[in-house]
């Protein structure tokens, strides 16, 4: 293995690689933010929605969770273009990841809210809180303890899922690496390098998740 050749090529391509890494982070960050906003809505609809709304949210999450992310990416890139909403690869990819993220966040929010004992809601009612107050002061803070660690986990999932956008031609890290490989033929070195970079990003997120979990746990 030519380590010197690898370092030369990697250094020569440092701009492309760091741009790719930037795109990976940008795609993931946008998808996580939008997906979380949408997902909290979905989670609330799943838990407190009136029946038709709840069924709608249930159908949405089940459909999205039953479809591979890659198929979502293809669908959002090809299908939306055909029916008139012609998105560039970046936007189409972000849309697919957002939808994917929202179904996961929706389930996390629902699970956390339903795990709170009904006694809490009853106690809140007994002291005369409105639903909005109950939610803001009683339910949300307790649910958040459960949501945060799982949510950080979802963030790591999104970074991993962002690699799939390389297949529709979004210039994120994996695509940049593949371009480098097709130029230099150093597939072993560069795929390993890609693995290390992704590992570094995800490991940082995982450590952060552990930290959040410790901080948000009830003191014993």
């Amino acid at each position: 293995m030519e380590f010197a050749a690898f370092f030369d090529q990697a250094w020569a391509a440092r701009v492309a690689i760091s741009k790719g890494l930037g795109t990976t982070v940008a795609v993931s960050a946008v998808a996580i933010c939008l997906g979380t906003i949408l997902g909290v809505g979905v989670g609330l609809a799943l838990t407190y929605g009136v029946r038709p709304l709840r069924w709608l949210a249930r159908g949405y999450t089940d459909f999205i969770r039953g479809t591979p992310v890659l198929v979502l990416v293809f669908a959002s890139y090809y299908v939306l273009g055909t029916v008139g909403l012609d998105l560039p690869p970046f936007e189409a990819g972000v849309l697919a990841l957002t939808v994917f993220c929202s179904s996961h966040v929706g389930e996390i929010v629902r699970g956390a809210l339903q795990a709170i004992p009904t006694g809490q809601t009853e106690a809140a009612k007994a002291i005369g809180l409105t639903f909005a107050q109950t939610f803001a002061y009683v339910l949300a803070p307790q649910a958040l303890r459960q949501i945060l660690p799982a949510w950080v986990n979802t963030a790591a999932e999104m970074v991993k899922a962002s690699t799939l956008l390389s297949i529709i031609g979004v210039g994120e890290l994996l695509l940049r690496i593949q371009e480098l490989i097709s130029r230099t033929f150093l597939s072993l070195d560069f795929y390993f390098f890609a693995g290390v970079l992704y590992f570094a990003v995800n490991y940082a997120i995982e450590r952060f998740g552990r930290y959040v979990e410790r901080r948000s746990a009830l003191p014993t």
Partner: protein, 220 residues
């Protein structure tokens, strides 16, 4: 927008989609079968007292869980031959799935092992069973009951991950869908049918797992 739905082209190639689906299921099944063996060994290592066993197991789980599966697939198929390990497409993909799911299953099995009450081990010792006997006839059957739901959801997500085999041109469901898409330009129809096939299969698998759970539940 002038796009009229016409499913005829998709129905003509429906056999291809079904063949792809069967291959997807086969790949996932082969992957999880080997993954279970890896997962069990790693789970016992993770719960071992000796750090010599625990550390490498922990390292394996951390690395695999923090690396995108697409990078692992491409590494196994394009980079491993440089190290002298040239596998066919299908073999390298199944190997990747096994190693990938092994890391997730190790955590699942570890949690399952932890949930078996210590008293059962002691009871086994008290009636004169050897360590191996306790492990195989007391701990393992109970652990498998505990982990069945998580094992099931790991299998379902592994089934969805088989869509990534399209990236190395294995003719599974997503690959066939892309082919039909390119050949017939019935973009919307193809992806709708593909999505529904995935969702229906996932729903069927989930129902199957719930049935198995009910059958294997300890009667009370």
């Amino acid at each position: 927008m002038g796009y009229t739905l016409n499913f005829a082209a998709v129905w003509r190639s429906f056999d291809l989609l079904l063949e792809g689906l069967a291959l997807s299921l086969g790949l996932a099944f082969a992957g999880i079968l080997i993954g279970c063996v890896i997962g069990l060994i790693v789970a016992f290592s993770l719960t071992a007292k000796a750090p010599l066993w625990r550390r490498p197991a922990r390292l394996y789980v951390t690395i695999i869980r923090n690396t995108p599966i697409l990078v692992l697939i491409l590494f196994a198929y394009f980079a491993l031959p440089e190290l002298g390990l040239a596998l066919s497409k299908t073999n390298s993909f199944v190997l990747t799935l096994a190693i990938y799911s092994g890391a997730y299953l190790a955590e699942v099995f570890r949690a399952g092992l932890a949930a078996v009450p210590i008293g059962l081990r002691e009871a086994g010792l008290a009636i004169g069973l050897r360590e191996g006997q306790i492990r195989n006839s007391v701990i393992l059957p109970l652990m498998l009951r505990n982990v069945l739901p998580s094992l099931g959801s790991t299998f379902i997500s592994l089934f969805k991950d088989t869509s990534l085999a399209a990236a190395i041109a294995i003719p599974e469901l997503t690959f066939e869908a892309r082919k039909i898409n390119v050949e017939t330009f019935r973009v919307v129809e193809t992806w709708i049918v593909t999505c529904l096939l995935y969702v229906a299969t996932c729903a069927a698998l989930a129902a199957l797992i719930r049935y198995a759970e009910r059958r294997l539940a300890i009667p009370r």
